[in-house]
């Protein structure tokens, strides 16, 4: 004869365990769906699409023609190389500008000024990227604010055009990337003990030696993490190059857009998309190798 009490408690136990597992499953589902449906599945489809070639209307075969087209047509890989080089430049400039800012927030700001400074970096990002870029256009255009101020101060004799060049493009991209550099840098620098810096000075180190031997090595994971994020965002940016880049600057994402939207050539666009994925992954990998940082190490420490 079974004890009804024990049986009842056993039932609650299993149903509770089941409920918990079901709850966990339900909570994880969105993440899995997101990854599977929005990241993996589209990439598989794009991969397949990039291997199909148009022969005639509604007739397609499988082949690597789209990739050959990319390699044989100079304008495509010129744009590709240009995008890569400018993105590296943007990442480097962003790092140089953000480092002192992050260092100040992490080590010199005291009390309330610290969160306030952080907030000030954050506030521009409450507006959308489009609005921020339009703001730069207002400032830089020929009939814009900067041009007006230069004329007013007597520095320029006639309206100055500062828009639609590589300079304005880099400016816009650096501005857009700064927050994503400052956050990991500040995080990394905050864990640096003041005593360590003081010890450096006590041992007769100059400002430069302390920076080079103590601060930068300690901030390295933050630098790498920030650089990866900024580089990825820059390489894949679309709005800023279109709006600020102007007539000479074709960004690779614009090539992809034009293949998909204005030329209805999805297979070619897909091949370009894959090339961009390979490019950004390759450069990140190279960057990690050159700086001697491990990817998992970077993730763990920031």
């Amino acid at each position: 004869m079974a004890n009804p009490k024990i049986m009842a408690s056993a039932r609650t136990l299993t149903s509770e365990g089941l409920g918990e597992r079901l709850g966990l499953f339900l909570l994880i589902t969105p993440a899995i769906l997101w990854l599977g449906l929005l990241v993996i599945l589209p990439h598989v489809e794009i991969g397949i699409l990039s291997l199909s070639q148009r022969i005639a209307a509604r007739v397609y075969t499988i082949g690597f023609g789209n990739y050959f087209e990319f390699l044989s047509e100079p304008i495509y890989w010129h744009t590709f190389a240009r995008t890569a080089l400018l993105s590296i430049l943007v990442t480097a400039i962003t790092l140089v500008i953000s480092f002192p800012v992050a260092l100040y927030i992490a080590k010199f700001a005291v009390g309330k000024s610290k969160p306030i400074l952080f907030l000030m970096c954050l506030i521009p990002f409450w507006a959308s990227e489009l609005v921020r870029t339009l703001g730069w256009m207002m400032l830089l255009r020929e009939a814009g604010v900067v041009s007006f101020l230069l004329q007013w101060a007597g520095i320029a004799g006639k309206p100055v055009e500062m828009l639609y060049s590589d300079g304005s493009l880099v400016l816009g991209l650096v501005y857009g990337g700064m927050l994503f550099m400052i956050v990991p840098l500040t995080n990394a620098l905050e864990s640096l003990e003041n005593a360590q810096i003081e010890a450096g000075y006590d041992l007769g180190g100059t400002n430069f030696t302390v920076l080079r031997k103590i601060i930068i090595p300690h901030a390295m994971p933050g630098i790498v993490a920030g650089a990866i994020i900024v580089f990825m965002l820059t390489v894949g940016n679309f709005v800023t190059p279109v709006m600020l880049g102007g007539k000479n600057g074709l960004w690779f994402t614009e090539q992809i857009y034009s293949q998909f939207i204005t030329r209805f050539n999805w297979p070619q666009g897909s091949a370009f998309g894959f090339m961009l994925l390979l490019l950004s992954t390759g450069i990140v990998w190279l960057g990690l190798r050159l700086t001697g940082q491990g990817f998992s190490e970077t993730l763990r420490r920031t």
Partner: protein, 356 residues
């Protein structure tokens, strides 16, 4: 208790994520251009028929791409230019043939209806109807750039950094006409067309120093011309007339070698769910009183018979100034674009954009 509420909340959370909006009201999903479906007209239509209209704004290329992505689903009525219906239809099959018995044909200007039918027929079936028509030509600040009379004049050395145009088909065709070639005559011959496009591409690269920016949205061009940053542009007549209303120096000029005439039409996507509503919208829009209001909103004339008489004076005066009779006779109307031609233009335009 705690466990149960955890389960409950997570279930609710998951349900929330998957729940979609259900809407019972009858709806017409319209894919069209800016200003073609002003709120006033949409409201009047809903009041009369009880059908709600969901308007999505787009342009020719995006319309084709959107419909291609879904193989013709997602919209009940689209408004591509009538020259760009047969090509994409042959390539992607995104439209369905029209049932002409459901159209009140006597509301259309007969010659335009016939031309549109001829241009959009595949295998004896009609796919498109005419709606709004207008032209591409020169928008010129006549005070700052008095010499511009034809397409090639925008590349004159005195206009460095003062010019704007799009990197789209009409510009390629305009350049070709300006250089004394006839692109429409070689539409059927891909080799000859490629040779022509190569010449145009070189001219566009040489002209690049004159370009301030390649405009994309019309507001960009309007603000550039208002500020005086751009003094000559290639664009739609309606932009020129809108600018002319604020600044009489800015005029729309029909180029000497001919303005390009386009007709935006109606076409029903192949997987449209509400054809009846689509036909109702078409018939409603072709009524002279409604068409006149759309014309005023879009700044262009329509294919509706009798709407001209109701159109306001300003637009008519501007049209008369831009188009003396000889210029009207010289309008180059777009013939249907054969499949494959757009790829040739597109590649050349990519080269132009990437050139330094």
């Amino acid at each position: 208790m705690k466990k149960r509420s955890f389960l409950l909340y997570s279930a609710a959370f998951a349900a929330l994520l998957t729940a979609g909006g259900a809407n019972a009201a009858e709806k017409l999903r319209l894919l069209t251009w800016a200003d073609y479906a002003p709120k006033e007209i949409v409201d009047a239509f809903t009041k009369e028929t009880g059908i709600e209209v969901e308007v999505t704004l787009s342009n020719n290329e995006e319309m084709i791409s959107k419909l291609r992505a879904t193989q013709g689903a997602g919209f009940d009525l689209a408004q591509p230019s009538q020259d760009r219906i047969t090509g994409p239809q042959a390539e992607f099959g995104i439209y369905k043939p029209l049932d002409m018995s459901k159209i009140k044909s006597d509301q259309f200007i007969p010659s335009m209806l016939e031309a549109a039918k001829k241009n959009t027929t595949i295998d004896g079936k009609v796919y498109g109807l005419p709606h709004v028509w207008g032209t591409d030509g020169l928008i010129v600040n006549t005070k700052l750039a008095p010499t511009v009379k034809d397409y090639k004049d925008i590349c004159a050395p005195d206009l460095v950094n003062k010019v704007s145009y799009r990197t789209k088909r009409p510009v390629v065709l305009g350049f070709a006409f300006g250089m004394g070639m006839d692109p429409f005559a070689v539409y059927g011959d891909k080799v000859a067309y490629q040779a022509m496009v190569d010449k145009v591409g070189q001219a566009m690269i040489d002209c690049k120093k004159n370009v301030k920016f390649y405009w994309d949205g019309k507001d960009q061009l309007i603000s550039g011309m208002r500020a005086g940053e751009v003094t000559a542009a290639l664009g739609w007549d309606t932009i020129g007339w809108r600018l002319n209303a604020d600044n009489a120096d800015i005029k729309f000029i029909a180029p000497k070698s001919g303005a390009l005439g386009w007709i935006d039409g109606f076409a029903i996507p192949s997987k449209g769910r509400n054809d009846d509503a689509a036909y109702k919208w078409i018939n409603f829009n072709m009524r002279p009183d409604i068409a006149a209001k759309v014309a005023a909103s879009a700044g262009n004339f329509t294919a509706s018979k009798g709407a001209d008489a109701l159109t306001k004076g300003k637009l008519k005066d501007q049209f008369a100034e831009s188009f003396p009779q000889a210029a009207i006779d010289n309008i180059k109307w777009y013939p249907a674009v054969p499949a494959g031609i757009e790829a040739i233009d597109g590649k050349m335009l990519d080269k132009v954009k990437a050139a330094n």
